[in-house]
Amino acid sequence: MTVEALRELAAEERARQAAFRRRVLCCTSSGCAACGGEATYRAFAAELERQGLAATTELVPTGCMGLCGRGPLVTVQPGDVLYQQVDPALATAIVTGHVAGGTPVAHAVVDTTVPFFASQVRIVNENSGRIDATRIEGYLAAGGYQALAKVLGGMEPGQVVEEVRASGLRGRGGAGYPTGLKWAITRKTAADQKYVVCNADEGDPGAFMDRGVLESDPHRVLEGMAIAGYAVGARQGYIYVRAEYPLAIERLRGAVRQAERLGLLGNRVLESEFSFRIDIRVGAGAFVCGEETALLRSIEGRRGRPQPRPPYPAEAGLFGKPTVINNVETFANIAPIINRGGAWFAGIGTPKSTGTKVFALTGQIRNNGLIEVPMGIPLRTIVFDIGGGTPEGTTFKAAQTGGPSGGCIPAEHLDLPVDYESLQAVGSIMGSGGLVVLDSTSSMVDIARYFMEFCMDESCGKCIPCRVGTVQLHGLLAKLARREATAADLALLEELCVMVKETSLCGLGQAAPNPVLSTLRFFRDEYLAALAPAGEG
C-alpha cells in the first residue's frame, strides 16, 4: 500500500462513518466487560435491529472511556452524550429515547463538564473509547499511521531520534530514562541485527494503564514501535504482554494481522525500503519479568531472571543484540510527537517531565478509572477534583504510587506537583501509573506488610539480599501487625531496609523496601503504636 492509498482509505472510512445518522460507541474492554458490557453491547445490537435502526446507526465496540467504576459506559454521537451503568434495559431505553427519538435519557447521562473529564489532557488516550478498537480503519480515520508515513517519506533515522530527544519524553514504565537517549545509543551501536521490544508486562497491582491502551488503541503502539525500528535500524519487534490480559492479546494479534494485510508491517512497509515485523510473546505470570533484562530472558524462552547492568539492553539486549525496550505508554506517545513535533510535546508538563501521564486511579476514591493528566499537576487536583475525594465519612490518608516499588504520599504533600523528581523527593516514585488512594480505614503497617509479601513471593531468588531480605522484612512486618514486635525489631527493620535497597541486583529488590521506608517516614506513629506493650514481646 502506498501513502496515497492509505490516505484514501482513511477518507473512505470517515465518509462511511459520517453517513450514519447516529453512532453508539459501546465500551467492550475489560473494565466494562467485568460489569456486563458484553450483554449491553448485544442488547444494543438486538434493539437497533428490532426497531429497524441498524442501517442508519453504527454500533461501535470501543475501548476504555475512563470512568471504569461506573461501567458499562456508552457514548452516543453526535453530541458525545456519555451514559453510565448501562444495563440491557437501559440500552433499550436509550435506543428508543435517544437513537430513535433524539432525546437523551437524562437520568443516566454523565456530566462531562465535571473536573474528572475537564482536568484531563489526552494524548496517549486521545482515541480511547472513541474509535473501533477492533478495526484498523477506525485508527486510520483518526489519522493513524500518518506519523509512520511521514517518517518513511522523508525523515532520516537520525532526525527521528532527534525529534524524540527534543520532546523530552521519558520512559513511562516508571524509571523515567530519556527515550531519545536510549534510541540514540541503540542507533549508534553497530550490529547485524537489532530489536525493538515493547514491555506490556504491566505487573504492578492497581495498574491498568497499558491494558487500556492495548485494548482501546492497539495500532498506536504498533506504529510507535515501527517508528522506533526505523530510527534505530531494527527489522524485528516483540511485544511482551502478560497472560492475564486475554482481551489485550486478542486485540493486539488482530491489529498485527490487519497492519500486515495493509502493508504497514512486514516487508517493504508502505512500499519503502524499510521492513519491520512484530511478534507477540505472552508472559506467564512473573512480576520480575517487568524488569527489562528479565523480560528479555523470558522472550528467549528462559526463566525470567535479571542480569547485572551494564551492559544495558540498548547495547546488548535480546539474543545479545542492541535492543530498544520501552513501555506501552512510551510507544503510544511516539506518533503524536512525530506528527506534531518534539517542541509541541515539550511544551506540555514541566521542563524536566514533559507530556502527560496516564494514571489508574483506584482504591478508596469516588471516581475510579483511567485518567490522563499533564505532568506537574498537583496531587490534590488528581485526588479531589478528578477523583472526587474519598467516599463519604472517611478522610484521605495517603496516595500510593509506584506499586510495590513505590511509596505512600501523605496529606501534607498533597500540593506536590506530580513529576518524576518531586515524587522521588518524598520517597515514592512515578512508577508505571498505579495510584491507589488509601483512606482513614487503612493501616499503613498492614499496607507495608502487604507489599512486602508481594515482593517476597515475586523475588526470583537469584540474589541473596532480595531472596532472603524480603522474607526477613516480611517476618518483621508480620510481627508488628501481630503487635509482638519490640523497639529492637523496628530498628532491625530499618537497618535491613537500607541493606536490601543498596545491595539487591535488580529493581525489584532495590525498590522492595520503598513502601516500608516511606510509611516509616510519614506514619512512624503507626509503627510505634503497633509495638508490643512494654514488658511483652
Binding site: 475489560s30 473494565g31 466487560a33 467485568a34 460489569c35 471504569c68 467504576g69 461501567g71 504491566e202 505487573g203 504492578d204 497491582p205 492497581g206 495498574a207 491498568f208 491494558r211 497472560a243 492475564e244 490480559y245 510473546r281 505472552v282 508472559g283 506467564a284 505470570g285 512473573a286 512480576f287 523470558s298 522472550i299 528467549e300 524462552g301 528462559r302 526463566r303 525470567g304 489508574a360 483506584t362 482504591g363 478508596q364 475510579n368 478509572g369 500510593q400 506499586g403 498505579g434 491507589v436 488509601l438 487503612s442 499496607i447 502487604y450 508481594f454 515475586e458 526470583c460
Partner: protein, 172 residues
C-alpha cells in the same frame, strides 16, 4: 509434584489428538527452543495443566534438557503442575481489592471451602487461587470465577456461588 529426574526419552507412540495439536504449535515455531514458553502455553490450554509426560514430550521436541523445561514451567506462576479442580475461583489480591476488603473475602472463602488458597477442595470440585491484579480495579474487590469476572464481590455472593459448586453441605 517432584522434579522428574529421567533424561528426555523418545516420545512414546501417542494417539492422543492433543499431542498432535501440540506438535503443530511446535512445528509452527520450527522446533525453536526460544519458543518454549509459547509451547507451554499451548500445552496448558490443551491439557489443563502440565503433567510430567507433557513436559517430557516438549523437552524432546524442542531438544532442550528436561531440567530446563521443568525449570521454566515451575518458575512462572501461570503454569500449573497439578490438575485443576472442576471449577476455579481466583481471588484478586491487587492493592485496590486489598484496600476494599479482599482479605476478609479470602478468609470467608477458605472457611467455606475448607481449603486454603493455592489448593483444591478435597472433593476436587473447586481450585482456589489468588491473582496479583487483573487490572479491573474499578470494580474491586473482584474474583475470576471460571474465567468470568465477578465484580464488587461480597462475602454473601461468594458464599452463594461456592454453595452452588460444592452443594449446600457445609465443609468441615
Amino acid at each position: 509434584m517432584t522434579a522428574p529426574r529421567t533424561a528426555p526419552s523418545p516420545a512414546p507412540p501417542i494417539r492422543d489428538p492433543r499431542y498432535e495439536q501440540l506438535d503443530r504449535t511446535i512445528s509452527l515455531h520450527q522446533r525453536d527452543g526460544h519458543a518454549l514458553i509459547e509451547v507451554l502455553h499451548t500445552a496448558q490450554r490443551l491439557f489443563g495443566y502440565l503433567p510430567p509426560e507433557v513436559l517430557r514430550h516438549v523437552a524432546h521436541a524442542l531438544k532442550r534438557p528436561l531440567s530446563q523445561v521443568y525449570g521454566v514451567a515451575s518458575f512462572y506462576h501461570f503454569f500449573r503442575l497439578q490438575p485443576p479442580g472442576e471449577h476455579t475461583f481466583v481471588l484478586c489480591l491487587g492493592t485496590a481489592c486489598y484496600a476494599k476488603g479482599a482479605p476478609r473475602l479470602q478468609r470467608a472463602v477458605e472457611r467455606r471451602c475448607g481449603a486454603p488458597f493455592g489448593q483444591t477442595t478435597a472433593d476436587g470440585k473447586v481450585t482456589l487461587l489468588t491473582a496479583r491484579c487483573v487490572g479491573s480495579c474499578g470494580v474491586a474487590p473482584l474474583a475470576l470465577v471460571d474465567d468470568t469476572v465477578a465484580c464488587w464481590l461480597t462475602e454473601g455472593r461468594a458464599g452463594a456461588l461456592l454453595d452452588g459448586w460444592l452443594g449446600t453441605e457445609v465443609a468441615p
